[in-house]
């Protein structure tokens, strides 16, 4: 009954509630836009970084100064059979030597990272690269041999297009020059630091480096959605420690001793989560998120003051109504509950409206091409902002908003409940 009365009052008092409703709607739209954009940027970085840094968890082998995993198949099998929430596990050969270059048409581009991937196991992950030409399917089968996937930035510098033969140069493990003619099988759109990588089949890269065909330097492990990456990495490290020598937990790149300090006579595995690889970028995004929530908190304070003042006026204006309700038998708690339910109804309807507006704003924010802004490349996909809102984030925002409004309404609602009926009825309307 109280609920019915509250909802009826909400509709009847709509003119008095309209300003608060607008404030709550605007506030919720703002926080939806902020958190959707911030989490979307973080999610975009995580997706790009996972492809670049060998999955959500990378397992890298070290022996003395060399990057090597002697038996990658054993590690892959152990991770697959572990029962952990693994989406994909695959071996990789990574070449990050400074001598690697691509040559085409009189132009050359130096490469930061060459990623030799196992097509059979990792193609599903790499198919999500934002291809502008070609695709991962071009790397399949016999025709995929000597295929290469380059970024749009590299293609533009070279003047190369899909299907072109380009010369790939690097130095082998023994320091000798080696070259191969590679066919461009795909061009992906990436202008950030993650774009200075090329993808090729790991058997091709191993051949160029004069390593055995099935050799690997890293194992890429991708986790299923919603998994806590840091805990997942620790579980993998614990799993592998049963059969291999492993480094202690690595929480950031700074934790990891430099090459010359790694005194590993026997093969030792370094298990690193994506969070550890991205610690500096994550700090930046966390700071941005904290800043945006600070603005949200300030806005909430403004809303809170507005709700408080409006409810004070509302209780004063509805004194006779309160007196009438009390006179017909409504208890104090019920009167307080009535006002709080009105506030709850208000915040729910306004938040829903604000959420819808926030989604539209997010959609609009994703339309313009931001690739002209230098720093945007890292956080955008093909120059466009992507948003990400999990049910958890939306619920958290709603709970914060509800708590703020109810807190503001608590005092006036309590005073309304304590009002003596006779005094309330005697008041001039």
């Amino acid at each position: 009954m109280t609920l019915f009365l509250a909802m009826r009052n909400l509709i009847l008092q709509k003119r008095r509630y309209v300003l608060i409703a607008v404030a709550i709607t605007a506030g919720f739209a703002l926080v939806t836009l902020q958190s959707g954009a911030a989490y979307g940027a973080m999610e975009t970085v995580m997706i790009k970084a996972a492809r670049y840094f060998s999955g959500h968890v990378s397992v890298t082998g070290y022996r003395k100064k060399d990057n090597v995993i002697e038996n990658p198949e054993a590690i892959i099998a152990a991770v697959r059979d572990s029962g952990l929430p693994v989406r994909t596990v695959s071996k990789r050969t990574i070449y990050a030597g400074k001598e690697a270059r691509l040559f085409f048409g009189g132009n050359s581009v130096r490469l930061r990272r060459q990623i030799g991937f196992d097509f059979e196991n990792e193609s599903s992950e790499l198919s999500r690269l934002p291809f502008t030409e070609g695709g991962i399917e071009g790397m399949a089968g016999i025709e995929g041999h000597n295929g290469i996937i380059i970024s749009r930035a590299a293609a533009r510098l070279l003047g190369a297009r899909l299907g072109d033969d380009i010369s790939f140069y690097l130095t082998s493990d023994s320091g000798q020059h080696n070259t191969a003619t590679m066919i461009v099988r795909g061009i992906f759109d990436e202008t950030s630091i993650f774009g200075y990588a090329t993808y090729m089949r790991n058997d091709d890269l191993n051949c160029l480096l004069q390593r055995p065909e099935g050799a690997a330097t890293e194992i890429a492990v991708y986790a299923k959605e919603g998994v806590n990456i840091v805990r997942f990495a620790e579980k993998i490290r614990t799993l592998l420690s049963r059969s291999h020598a492993v480094f202690p937990p690595i929480l950031s790149r700074d934790d990891f001793p430099s090459k010359k300090n790694r005194n590993t006579e026997a093969e030792t595995l370094a298990v690193m989560s994506l969070d550890a690889h991205l610690d500096q970028i994550k700090d930046l995004l966390d700071a941005f998120l904290a800043g945006s929530y600070f603005i949200f908190v300030v806005f909430m304070l403004i809303v809170m003051i507005g709700v408080l003042n409006t409810y004070r006026v509302m209780v004063y204006v509805r004194t006779r109504e309160i007196g009438t309700m009390r006179a017909i038998g409504m208890q104090r708690d019920q009167v307080r509950a009535l006002f709080l339910l009105e506030a709850s109804g208000l915040v729910t309807l306004s938040s829903a409206t604000g959420f819808a507006i926030g989604l539209m704003l997010l959609y609009a924010a994703g339309l313009p091409d931001l690739s002209g802004i230098t720093a945007s490349a890292l956080f955008t996909e093909s120059g466009r902002l992507r948003f990400y809102l999990s049910p958890g984030i939306v619920l958290a925002n709603f709970l914060i908003m509800s708590f703020t409004v109810l807190l503001a309404a608590w005092g006036p609602a309590g005073r309304a409940g304590k009002m003596p009926p006779a005094q309330a009825l005697g008041k001039e309307s």
Binding site: S167, G175, Q176, N178, T179
Partner: protein
């Protein structure tokens, strides 16, 4: 049947012996090549002008003073031009090669396999000639190259210290001087072609007067013709005058730049 097997066996033994003799001949040629351009009893200094031309593009010029002591496998190269690179230096002592940056006043360990001043030349091109120790001849044949009758040797590196794992070398028969070289990658792709059109006599030995290096990785088709990145090295004013030991030191490079 026994007679047949004996004939086949004899054939292989004789072929092997002939082949061994031939390989030994090729090794002798390589040693003579090295001897003709190695200054064991004196220092060598010269002015090098390196002109790099991009395919269909601009040219850049570097002028450097080169000091070389073959007896101890040392050299020092001091860049004189352009102004932006003046004072830069390359110092080789044994297997160690340092690059000096006059702006930062710092030495960086570099590699003989790296490009010299971003040209088609490699730092190792300024080393003393050591083909007979670094490479092993695999095959050889006779061929005419312009006006020169040449022995063409296919060489494979015996160590990974050298820049190119495979080479083909044209050596003029009358004077055992290298006239042309083709450098190949491990996969057998032609990476560079070096032509030595002329030599100059310095004392009893020889120094190239000019070299032309074509970089086959860096090429462009212009008006239907393939143009390669080309580096021309001209060697002027070679001298066998003694050079003080202090020149082949890091301190010398630092001192030259503080003057």
């Amino acid at each position: 049947m026994k007679k047949y097997l004996m004939v086949v066996l004899a054939f292989f033994i004789i072929s092997g012996a002939i082949y061994a003799d031939t390989i030994e001949d090729y090794k002798k040629i390589l040693r003579k090549v090295d001897e003709n351009v190695t200054f064991k009893k004196s220092d060598l200094s010269a002015e090098y002008t390196i002109v790099k031309r991009d395919p269909g593009g601009s040219a850049s010029t570097t002028v450097a003073a080169m000091f070389r002591r073959d007896s101890t496998d040392q050299f020092l190269i001091l860049v004189l031009e352009p102004v932006s690179d003046k004072g830069k230096g390359y110092l080789k002592i044994g297997d160690n090669l340092w690059l000096y940056d006059p702006v930062g006043r710092s030495f960086t360990f570099t590699s003989a396999k790296e490009r010299f001043q971003n040209s088609s030349a490699r730092n190792s091109d300024f080393n003393r000639s050591n083909f007979s120790n670094d490479y092993s001849p695999v095959t050889g044949k006779q061929e005419k190259l312009g006006r020169f009758d040449c022995t063409v040797l296919e060489l494979e590196a015996v160590s990974n210290k050298v820049s190119f794992p495979k080479m083909k070398m044209w050596i003029s028969e009358n004077d055992n001087l290298v006239r042309k070289m083709e450098d190949y990658s491990l996969s057998g792709q032609l990476m560079r072609t070096t032509a030595v059109p002329s030599y100059q006599k310095v004392g009893k030995l020889w120094v190239p007067q000019s070299l032309v290096i074509l970089d086959h990785l860096n090429s462009k088709v212009i008006s239907g013709k393939t143009e390669f990145e080309k580096t021309t090295i001209t060697v002027k004013n070679p001298s066998l005058a003694d050079i003080p030991d202090s020149v082949y030191t890091k301190e010398y490079l630092e001192k030259v730049n503080t003057k």
